[in-house]
Amino acid sequence: MSQNVITKDEIVAWVLAYAQAISDNRVLLTELDVAIGDGDHGANMDRGFKAVAQKLQSGGTDISQILKTTGMALLSTVGGAGGPLYSTLFLQAAQACAGKSELSLQDWTGMIDNAARGVMARGKAAAGDKTMLDALLPALQALIEASHANLPLADALLKSAEAAEHGKQATIPLIAHKGRASYLGERSAGHIDPGAASTALLFLIAAKTLAQS
């Protein structure tokens, strides 16, 4: 990121580091899902990102293709709600990067914007429904602001990670309106949404991997 841009190899590193982080946090994600869901979010994401890591071992030809490979691998291995949603996230990200060999902050922001729109279209949820969007949308908002302010990429990634983490914590008091947790009604309040947790981790790993390389 010496050039204030993200390279193809850094994208691979990001996804692989996320795969590792998912594996490390598998029990945590599972336990969050036990509390207000069905206890599979950790295992699902881990199964999916293990398959992704396998596919990305040999690197990739370009950023868009790497993200598409990731999305396709998730689609056929994760299942549940997480599968289509994370698959859509990466496939829509891929679409936004078509033809690009490196990503500026503006590119990255546009990519996350497209990804977030994809997730919203797929899941028909909105902010405050206690889903992964409650981490994803604040992260996007932080990126947009950083982009307007022309912050250095590393700072922008850090801010988006903080915003995602904040958004994740803010899911605690919410009553879920989408996904399995919504069946619990008021009993869903008092817990972090597992999808918000895995999404916050995605931005944390982006900040760690991409801002340090």
Binding site: D40, A43, L75, S76, G185
Partner: protein, 333 residues
Amino acid sequence: MKKLINHPDDVVRESLEGFANAHSSLVRVNLDPAYIVRSDAPIAGKVGIVSGGGSGHEPLHGGFVGAGMLDAACPGAIFTSPTPDQMLEAVKAVNGQAGALFIVKNYTGDIMNFEMAADLAREEGMSIESVVINDDVAVNDSLYTAGRRGVALTVLAEKITGAAAEQQRPLDAVAAICRQVNEQGRSMGMALTSCTVPHVGHPMFNLPEDEMEIGIGIHGEPGRRRVKLQSANVIAEMLMEPVLSDMNAKAGDDVLLFVNGMGGTPLTELYIIYRKANEIASKHGLKIIRSLVGSYVTSLEMAGCSITLLKMNDELATLWDAPVRTVALRWGI
């Protein structure tokens, strides 16, 4: 966690392998991607009936693959909707050139994965219809939930829809029957104990000896409320009341009464619930013309039950009675 398994990662695959070994005369099993099809598929001119969902609900859905019911079932990981490629391959394997119907339980994950599979299948030129089952009256069907869940009614829908397809009715007619079943059926469930997902390794919730959960789904989630343990008769009333008040059945109507076990409850107890449910339905003037009692839509080893009422008519009764030859439901052939 005490289970007859080897490793949590291998549960679904090994179970599927055992299923394939045991029932090779009725079904063919594909492991990657995972799906089960009836051994005589595809049947020319017949609408393919395809269902699927997370594993852990056995015999649903694989146990209902066969003549007169499902053409294919796609098992996901435990409590995890299957992936679109499974449905795509399954629907191709049962393609009799008359289109296919997806029977989908109403969960966000199932909806999305089946939707994506339908898109892919349509891209390959197939006609696909989907019917979403959402019979669980424990959940409000409002803007503020993912809608009512699909639970035990699914097995009735699969049986009746499968019979309609077996008569070589066209896709829209088959889908209409399935929708009719969904509109006319309601369910409500309860749990005495939690279940343990192999990957989790401990119970999903802790229920003291003198408490139970009312309004559970089939994924080990807690119910809508936790109350003191009650007698079987009171429990039957607690389940029948919301079912009856949500469905539009009036005195004189014919119904099918289905008492379903959650996996860990002995038949003896299901019949005690059935006895009371039968009495309550009769008091409401309903005529119970068909019955089903057993553990058909389960939640691993959870102890508990659900009650389903389906308002019947002559056509539904005829389709219910039609021959079926699957691992878990069989008569007439």
